[in-house]
């Protein structure tokens, strides 16, 4: 037994034997622990724990090996996770399932499980980790939001939803373990970052955190509120297909597919891996009707491969723009554009149209608020050229929310001619500040504009954009009407969103 599990130890020339022995002890101990936690879930009778880890593992493995010979594929998924210390992907699972089927007896199965673990350990770095099986739980993957302080749209959704759900439901928050071997629970620091983002953190970053253990969902609901890291996607796809846990997701947009001509090609690589997970998901809650149409299109295409695809439901996103005092601005009308400088945001069209209107003698300032995006060259060049010509153009870069909103409140009009958005937050932000918007006449921006306060344009037609901006700057009656409409705009509260999301994604779990 001890020899059979001596995989993966890294040799240190100075203390080869001792290091190997320590590593083996650690690996045997974690293996025994993982087998035991799995046996407790899968087997009716589990023998009492042996103080010696190697003997304990040697007692449990035959029982689990015998079990998987007749058990459903989901049980094999869990046993493989325990034996290897990592989630299997679909091809590993199929290979072992077939080998188990052809095995002559239980010992054969034991050997092939161990051989499989050895093969995986030669290919991947597998840290010796213990494992916890969480049964019938709601598990939320919050990898990026837990590790990073960054707060863009997706992290905001993740944090607000987790925070609101956690007030009413037990949740297990997980991130990916080192080497993307599987999930682990969040540390205290990470939990704070997800549930209480923005509040001060006083504790020591690592105080009281035990070494990471695998946290494996079993007959649970795994909620993806973020796009999972690419390296975990194949394992997650197999989990969604075969583990018996339902995977559900918040769907944002499919720009890496439908608008890849304006994105780095690598975005598509990450996104199609995500789609390989979603094809086995139970439900996708899309943040707008337009986003729902995108995911529904994907889901319907899966019939060609004999898959039903996820059920796609629209759960319109919430926003929370606080009312703020308008910023102090000069006498000139302010035209404001919110959003990072990505090519698909179409800022070049706005710069062109602004130049045309300036040349026509219109007097206004153009302000941008937003961070750098992918491929800024053309934007920077155009801005430089206009600034050199003495045009009143200000790029504020990133501003804190309240300063951005007070600028929005002070603006005459905001312009958001994006070629593609899953939601179009800047339209909401502007309307919530009482300021009319010129925006795109299709997709999610059109949905938000439905309640009034907007001029809709074809963002691929500069002439329409120019005409709309000219009218906004010169037609006081029109502007007054739009302002009055914007004043009636109502935001959707986060609580309503979180509650509906729970009902759509989690609640049907009893109906499987």
């Amino acid at each position: 037994m001890a020899e059979a599990v001596s995989w993966g130890a890294t040799a240190d020339p100075a203390h080869v034997d001792e290091v190997r022995r320590t590593a083996e002890r650690g690996q045997v101990a974690t293996l025994a622990q993982r087998l035991r936690s799995t046996a407790l879930v899968l087997l009716a009778d589990v023998p009492a724990q042996d103080a010696d880890a190697a003997r304990d593992a040697a007692a449990l493995l035959p029982l689990l090996a015998g079990h998987v010979r007749t058990a459903p594929a989901s049980d094999l998924w869990l046993v493989l996770t325990a034996v290897v210390g990592a989630y299997p992907d679909a091809s590993e699972l199929a290979r072992i399932r077939r080998a188990v089927e052809l095995a002559t007896d239980r010992i054969d199965v034991e050997l092939l499980l161990l051989e499989h673990a050895r093969r995986v350990s030669l290919r991947r770095d597998l840290p010796p980790m213990e494992m916890e099986v969480v049964t019938d739980a709601v598990v939320v993957e919050t990898d990026f939001s837990a590790r990073n302080d960054k707060q863009t749209g997706i992290q905001r959704v993740t944090r607000r939803v987790c925070s609101l759900w956690s007030e009413r439901h037990p949740l297990v928050l997980v991130a990916w373990a080192p080497g993307h071997v599987g999930h682990r629970r969040l540390t205290a620091r990470e939990t704070h970052r997800v549930l209480r983002h923005g509040e001060p953190w006083s504790d020591d970053d690592a105080a009281g955190d035990a070494p990471p253990r695998l946290c494996v969902p079993w007959r649970s609901t795994l909620v993806l509120t973020e796009v999972p890291p690419s390296d975990g996607a194949m394992a997650l796809s197999a989990l969604a297909e075969s583990s018996g846990t339902s995977v559900v997701a918040v769907g944002y947009d499919a720009i890496p597919v439908t608008g890849i001509d304006m994105r780095p090609l690598g975005d598509a690589t990450t996104f199609v891996r995500y789609l390989s997970v979603l094809k086995h998901a139970r439900t996708v809650a899309a943040i707008s009707a337009s986003s729902a149409a995108e995911f529904r299109g994907f889901s319907s295409a899966l019939a060609a491969q004999g898959l039903a695809g996820p059920d796609v439901v629209e759960v319109q996103l919430a926003t929370e723009v606080a009312s703020v005092q308008p910023a102090e601005v000069g006498a000139r009308p302010v035209v404001l554009c919110l959003g990072s400088h990505e090519p698909h945001k179409n800022h070049l069209a706005l710069l062109h149209v602004a130049e045309a209107l300036w040349r026509d003698g219109l007097d206004f300032e153009l302000h941008f608020v937003g961070g750098p995006g992918w491929d800024m060259r053309a934007y920077e060049q155009a801005v430089d050229h206009l600034v050199r010509d003495g045009r009143p153009l200000v790029d504020h870069g990133v501003l804190p929310d309240d300063r951005m909103w007070s600028l929005a409140a002070a603006a005459t009009v905001t312009v958001f001619p994006s070629l593609h958005e899953g939601f179009g937050l800047p339209v909401v932000e502007s309307l919530a500040c009482g300021t009319p918007v010129i925006t795109t006449d299709y997709g999610s921006t059109r949905e938000v504009a439905g309640s009034g306060g907007c001029l809709l344009v074809d963002p691929r037609d500069d002439a329409q954009l120019e005409d709309a901006l000219r009218r906004a700057l010169t037609d006081d009656a029109l502007l007054g009407r739009l302002r009055a409409e914007a004043a009636t705009f109502r935001q959707r509260p986060w609580k309503a969103y979180a509650d509906e999301l729970w009902d759509v994604l989690v609640e049907p779990r009893g109906e499987q």
Binding site: D261, T269, A293, L419, D462
Partner: protein, 499 residues
Amino acid sequence: MSPFLRTRRRSRYAAPPDRLAVLATALEERKVATADARRVVEAHLERPGDDVVWLALSVLSGVLPGAETVIETRRAARFAGPEHVYEVAARLRRDGHSAASIEVVSGPVIDVEHLARTSLGTGIQRVTRETLRRWVTDREVRAVGWHADYRAMRPLTRAELARALEEGPGEPKAGSTGSPVRGRRVVVPWKATYVLPEVVLEEDRTRRIEALLRFSRSRGAAIGFDTVPLTSAETAADDVPPRFILELAALRHAHRIATISAAAAHEYEGWRTMVRSTGLDGPQIRAIPLAVEAVIPSTEALAEAAARYCVPSLPLVLCVGSHEPRKNHLAVLHAAERLWRDGYEFSLLFVGGNAWKSEDFTDRLADLAGAGRPVESVLGLSDRLLWALYALARCTVFPSLNEGFGLPVAESLASGTPVVTSNFGSTLEIAEGGGALTVDPRDDAAITRALGALLTDDALHHELTEQARARATRTWDQYADEAWDYLVATNVGPVGQDG
């Protein structure tokens, strides 16, 4: 002083007069004399649309521009005038080889770059070749390829076209890999019908095709094979999906896509639904299923194939296709092993190339062969012997997880040989014509049962063989006619600036 700088100085304010004449003639749709060309062109370049800018850049530079260049140039030209268009054209020309001649082409333009450049013996190339062969015989079409830098399209010479239409795999085609720098000829489609009967994975080519579809006032059309890199990305090598998805982004601006099966139409319709969130209608989609014409093997081919690939006294199970995971050949090996263990007697032959991630298959096959099972894998078999094997086989098995068409299913049935195949998608469509057992390919036990039944149940085997023999044949003539009708003849209508 480098020649490069001299060129730039001279060309900066002087677009070549002969090119201006070509451009003016195309814009006016009447012959414009060289002397009047500049004046005529500059009238068009006063507040031009993207389409006029696209044509001007293409003709003046001999390089097909990308969409960003066109839009940026149009915006700048509004304030800087026609001079700016000349300047951008000069810059484009400077960056690459300059064209010796430019031809603005209307009417059907068929882009067969891959077929002209290399012959891979793939299903896609077979479709392109069989279709083009018929189109060039009865119809007025221009077959075009691309220059090696993928910056411009070129006409295929008669000899190149003849080679492209030759059968079978081979080396890169002589004379077509490098195009001559001197005498570089460029084709610019304008108010044309641009047809793409192949898959484009070269980024530079794709971006120029996108701009062409948007701005050349042409009707765009393509053959849609499948959306596997988008909808089954886990079965594709990492570098394929982004390039394929970029091609799909270009095809948003096409008018019609003829898919090779109803299942593929379903996939493309799903994609088109996604596209509509970008404010574009996307192309119309119609299924025009592929043709299959069985080749009756000669006595010699049958004898040769039998001697080399069949085990005397054992029925042959044939599995055709590359060994990538999507084809599910590991399930075939597993089903076969189950049957061998249960005492079934047959040999199993795989015909097809190794592909991405086929190592698991290769290993497993070696295990079974090493254990004495009658199983073999053959690479690069000639069509002649393949058709003989279809005829010799007791049955074929094709439990693919995702196919645009499933050519081996159709070929087996056309040969009168029953098939075990997948119970959904394009393979189901083909199976519905008779002669097949359909199974859930994700269920090994179902594959095993179906294969076992075909090996031992003679009545069933006979019935399916009769069904296969009674199937209606569909010829390449029919396919080519229908594809022409949909993609070219009836693909008419207004073409707006944004297509």
